[in-house]
């Protein structure tokens, strides 16, 4: 049952993804909780994924969707490593406040 699907104009997707991306950026900027920052990054990745999928469909080229899959893989790997780092950080500082992680300062 493959019905013809009326696709939205690509600019819609562009706007939506830009918006989601910007929200992600703002999230990274305003939050101090490392976990939420991480989530904002995931949000940004997802906006890109959506755009890739949209373009893949518009250009009738599967490469975009394959790329999305690889992005998912990388995101999963990144989350695994990142969260374990977070856990270690928490164990050390008893907090995951990003502002406390300023040991790199000059």
């Amino acid at each position: 049952m493959v019905d013809t699907i009326q696709l939205m104009p690509i600019s819609y997707y562009l706007s939506l993804c830009s918006l989601l991306f910007a929200i992600g950026v703002v999230g990274v900027l305003i939050k101090r909780n490392a976990l939420v920052i991480f989530m904002s990054i995931e949000l940004m990745l997802n906006s890109i994924n959506l755009l890739l999928a949209a373009f893949s469909v518009y250009h009738n080229n599967a490469a975009g969707q394959i790329l999305v899959i690889f992005i998912m893989v990388v995101a999963a790997a990144e989350v695994a490593a990142g969260l374990s780092i977070l856990v270690v950080t928490y164990r050390k500082n008893n907090s995951i406040d990003m502002n406390l992680l300023n040991q790199l300062k000059g």
Binding site: I10, V26, L29, V36, S56, V73, I85
Partner: protein, 176 residues
């Protein structure tokens, strides 16, 4: 019909994305993000990218966000309570993000994009994706699997309590 679905899903996505930022409890943020992911999965289905939609759910909602939730529970962050940035910093951040959005939109506006096509596209089907993935992108696929493995090992290694630490802990309890 599709139009309404699109706008509904978009609204849901944006709303839940905003809620991720607004809600003060990290757990709520996680749940809103999951909701957002569902909205995005809906978009995928709208694009007839079924496989992507399901994989998106399985990977993001089923694995990644569970990990987040899991970490959250393990660290039990709710008790700590969230510290917030100063108002100035937050305003600056929102302005910066807004600027980014504006410039993005401005940049994209200038692009000359082809108009929408009523595509009866089948590329999002599982079999099609599989064919492309295992023919043209075989090597990246294998490389990704190795990346996964190393990430797994890395996560275990990082997250493991250092033996020395543990030893000292044991010692301390023994001393007590």
């Amino acid at each position: 019909m599709e139009k309404y679905i699109f706008f509904f899903l978009s609204g849901l996505a944006v709303f839940s994305a905003l809620m991720v930022l607004i809600s003060r409890k990290p757990v709520h943020s996680v749940l809103y993000l999951i909701l957002c992911f569902f909205a995005i999965a809906g978009h995928y289905i709208l694009l007839n990218a079924q496989f992507l939609a399901v994989v998106h759910i399985i990977v993001y909602a089923g694995a990644i966000m569970v990990l987040f939730l899991f970490t959250l529970m393990m660290l039990n962050l709710n008790i700590v309570g969230e510290v917030r940035k100063s108002v100035l910093a937050r305003v600056a951040a929102v302005i910066a993000g807004g600027l980014l959005l504006v410039t993005l939109v401005a940049a994209l506006k200038g692009l000359n994009l082809s108009t929408s096509l009523s595509a009866n596209t089948q590329i999002g089907m599982t079999s099609n994706i599989g064919k492309v993935l295992f023919n043209e992108y075989m090597f990246p696929f294998e490389a990704a699997s190795i990346l996964f493995l190393s990430a797994m090992v890395g996560a275990v290694m990082i997250g493991k309590k250092e033996e020395e630490e543990e030893m000292t802990n044991v010692q301390m309890t023994n001393d007590k």
